[in-house]
């Protein structure tokens, strides 16, 4: 069936609006941070900044609604599930990342994550809408199976959550670096200024330092960030495991073998093993904390290779390794 061009256009317009609204939400979270600092510096109550943060959440929810509508109209336009190519896939992964963030918000105070989650989401959607964009169209027959729905939904869900955990991990590394620096600085007398910078500092370097210190103050303790990223990975990892298994079942129906070490399968496996190593590291003396965090970032890097490098370079014309 030919794609419904009218609906496809509506989906594209909704997509553009989604990116715009998310960008506004991101600025809202950043403004909350800025006003909170200002209020603290002046010794005022942070009521205004809290209202800003709440507005940013409301804007995020609005963007989320637009995002869902964009995905749904895309599926209706193409008469199939809306995750059949890299553009649609990237849009879905961002949708999951925002969903995971909103779901976390309903349970714990994680609004501080707002700007840090929305920034990569906006960037990612921007890339998806420009570089990866393809018009709505049908699927290859081999992709036409209900296992693709199960497999891809699981893979997308895990990836969106891994993305959030990646963001939290980066924040963790930042915070733990600052904590260590603060600890080493505050050994000497008169060094409280490094941690307790109240006055707007003079000059570019002073500003940068004030900014970093402000962010450090804004973030919760590194221990909490570490736990948060573990929680998200603890959700994503079993889903990723299930995605690989569902993919193997699909491969069994489609290609007569459940596993063939093709580059896509292999990078999914590598990603899985690296996150398994992360989980082990958290239970291994001497590997907790920062080393485990590096493993988690490595896992996210492998995931990105799996999606983008494998699809575009390895199975493309320039390499010999592809199955094609």
């Amino acid at each position: 069936m030919a794609p419904n061009l009218h609906l496809a256009h509506i989906s594209d317009v909704l997509f553009t609006w989604t990116v715009f609204v998310y960008a506004v939400a991101m600025l809202g979270y950043a403004a909350e941070f800025a006003f909170a600092r200002l209020a603290r510096a002046r010794g005022e109550s942070p009521a205004r900044s809290i209202r800003l943060g709440q507005a940013a959440v409301a804007i995020t929810v609005a963007g989320w609604g637009l995002h869902i509508s964009s995905v749904v109209t895309r599926g209706l336009a193409a008469h199939r599930v809306p995750w059949g190519n890299m553009y649609e896939f990237s849009s879905m992964v961002s949708l999951v990342a925002v969903t995971v963030f909103l779901a976390m918000l309903t349970r714990q105070q994680v609004r501080f994550l707002g700007a840090f989650v929305m920034a990569p989401v906006v960037l990612y959607l921007g890339l998806a809408g420009t570089v990866l964009y393809v018009p709505a169209g049908p699927l290859q027959p081999v992709l036409n199976s209900y296992w693709i729905k199960i497999h891809v939904v699981a893979a997308i869900t895990a990836s969106g959550a891994f993305m959030v955990s990646g963001v939290v991990t980066v924040l963790y590394l930042m915070k733990s670096w600052l904590e260590r620096r603060a600890a080493s600085v505050s050994i000497g007398p008169g060094t409280a200024a490094a941690v307790e910078l109240r006055e707007p500092a003079v000059g570019v370097r002073g500003n940068a330092r004030a900014m970093v210190d402000g962010v450090a103050r804004w973030l919760p303790s590194s221990e909490r960030l570490d736990r948060l990223s573990y929680q998200v990975i603890g959700f994503a990892f079993p889903v990723w495991t299930f995605a690989i298994i569902a993919g193997a079942i699909w491969a069994k129906y489609a290609w007569s073998r459940y596993w063939g070490w093709d580059p896509k399968e292999t990078w999914s496996f590598i990603t899985w093993v690296v996150y398994a190593a992360y989980l082990h590291a958290r239970a291994t003396a001497g590997w907790r904390g920062r080393r485990a965090a590096y493993l988690s970032l490595l896992g996210f890097g492998c995931l990105m290779v799996d999606y983008y490098v494998v699809n575009t370079v390895i199975t493309g014309l320039h390499s010999y390794a592809g199955v094609g």
């Binding site: 036409n144 129906y253 690296v274 390895i314």
Partner: protein, 518 residues
């Protein structure tokens, strides 16, 4: 798990049976074994496994695409043999790759046995007694109650048991009573199930590798296939496979339908086959489609490709038919521009070979003749005829899709559409009768699949339990209040401890305490 009272955070770690890094002792073998089965080694081997898989995606692999390996060899004639010596074109069958995962699994077994034993013991044992100073723990609280200590503790134990905590009540010195409770053994059970299932998975994969088979066969519409090794175009048995394992089924390809989008992208494939389990059983029909194989007698038949076979008739100058076959042509591009060969070694004055290009929908482009759509809408055949010794009696094996034209004489070229006949100079005639579809099928049997599937399900269930369930302890001590404390006769201290998810644990602790205070 040791019997010490868990008062410190490091004791919290003892809520798991994870092995510590303790390569101690004099015996070097024991030391090596301890080292191999430590968490640190497991971590290292996991990292190594991930790293070792990378070259398998950067270099061409024989198991995936032997043609690309050959192309790599001709592009890098000096480097390739060295890489080959390191098994870098067969990474996933390489001895060093096997060494890593076998070591990992030996480590896993060595790690699992003591953990299983510890876990079974921990499950049978009562929860450890309440530490002396409950209020020193991070998650703790105190309040006063009007009941006597015995009643407070009895009530608490009842509430805990109704929430499926395992409890033990202890009468302590100086009139205090305490209850110790533990919950979430499923976490460790899940973790052990997960790791055991990894071993099952490997076993299932090994079974398939030892006793399975697979093969591919090209079948033209109207033709049949019976499952004996000689019917296959390509057959790959596993190491311990024996021919008697082939189930005696057969099928005929009755119909093949492909549909396409306007741009030529395929939309659907459908191969209708009539099949029989054994030569004597009743025939049935089945639609084999992508993602929808035919399963007979433990083997699966998959549709893996398709193309066109051209019905070509060759008559000698007297009109006698010397060749009349549907000859499969192999597709060269997505629009099914295809090439093929007809060999007529007998019945003519000179042996005759025909090489042809077939265009299901003929189009003339800047690059020359080309098919412009994959369906046979405007079928056209370009033919060249060759005479001479086809070399079939030379003893050299020859592909049915190749004609060694160097030693042959070209006797003409032409273009034909269905029904048209071409007369060569010597009176031989070639008729393009019509087009039929062919399909390639892969037949595969993997006796390990069921075990692999069971293991996979256990892996997911084990992981869920292992990552979602919290192993946690709860203690409550009720002691008589000092004299003169009013109507409140009893002082209650409570504390909770969990190995993971401190947030979730704290909120559960608060809810529990809230209920116990009432």
């Amino acid at each position: 798990m040791t019997e010490t009272l868990p008062e410190t955070t490091s004791a919290a770690e003892r809520l798991s049976t994870a092995p510590a890094y303790t390569p101690s002792g004099r015996n070097p073998l024991l030391r090596a074994w301890r080292q191999l089965t430590s968490m640190r080694t497991a971590l290292l081997l996991l990292a190594l496994l991930a790293l070792a898989a990378v070259p398998g995606t950067l270099l061409p692999q024989r198991g995936l695409n032997p043609a690309k390996v050959a192309a790599y060899f001709s592009a890098h004639p000096h480097l390739a043999p060295w890489l080959d010596k390191l098994s870098l074109f067969d990474v996933f069958a390489a001895p060093w790759f096997a060494a890593i995962y076998l070591l990992l699994f030996v480590s896993l077994i060595g790690c699992l046995i003591p953990r299983l034993r510890l876990h079974v013991r921990a499950m049978r044992r009562q929860p450890p007694r309440a530490p002396r100073h409950l209020l020193r723990m991070t998650t703790s609280t105190d309040w006063q109650a009007s009941d006597v200590p015995q009643d407070v503790v009895a009530h608490a134990a009842g509430v805990l048991r109704s929430r499926r905590w395992r409890t033990v009540v202890t009468e302590e010195a100086d009139g205090a009573v305490s209850v110790a409770a533990e919950k979430g053994y499923l976490r460790e059970t899940g973790n052990l199930v997960f790791h055991v299932a990894l071993l099952l998975l490997l076993t299932g994969i090994a079974l398939g590798g030892m006793f399975g088979y697979k093969g591919t066969v090209l079948v033209t519409v109207g033709d049949g296939f019976s499952n004996v090794q000689s019917s296959y175009d390509v057959f790959s048995p596993s190491r311990f496979f024996s021919n008697t394992h082939l189930p005696p089924f057969s099928f005929t390809l009755q119909r093949f339908t492909a549909t396409y989008e306007p741009n030529g992208q395929p939309r659907s494939f459908d191969a209708v086959v009539g099949y029989q389990r054994t030569p004597n059983s009743a025939p049935k029909t089945f639609d084999i489609r992508p993602n929808d194989p035919l399963s007979v007698d433990g083997s699966d038949v998959y549709l893996v490709g398709h193309g066109y076979a051209l019905q070509i008739q060759v008559r000698d100058p007297h009109g006698r038919v010397v060749y009349n076959n549907a000859t499969p042509f192999l597709p060269d591009d997505a629009m099914f521009t295809s090439h093929g060969v007809v060999k007529v070694p007998n019945g003519l004055a000179h042996q005759l070979g025909l090489t042809g290009f077939f265009y299901p929908t003929y189009g003339s482009t800047a690059l020359g003749a080309q098919s412009v759509y994959p369906a046979a809408d405007d079928p056209t055949l370009d033919l060249a005829a060759w005479q001479g010794d086809l070399g079939l009696s030379s003893g050299q094996p020859q592909s049915v899709y190749d004609l060694p034209v160097a030693s042959l004489k070209n006797v003409g070229t032409t273009q034909l559409t269905p029904g048209k006949t071409w007369r060569l100079a010597d009176g031989t005639s070639v008729t393009f009768v019509g087009v039929r579809d062919w399909a390639t099928f892969q037949v595969a049997h993997d006796p390990g699949t069921k075990l692999v599937l069971v293991a996979a399900v256990l892996i997911v269930l084990g992981l869920l339990a292992s990552l979602r369930v919290r192993r946690r302890r709860f203690w409550l001590r009720a002691a008589p209040a000092a004299a003169g404390a009013g109507s409140r006769r009893t002082v209650v201290h409570a504390a909770g401890l969990a190995r993971s998810d401190a947030d979730g644990n704290a909120s559960e602790f608060d809810r529990l305490v809230h209920q116990l205070k009432d």
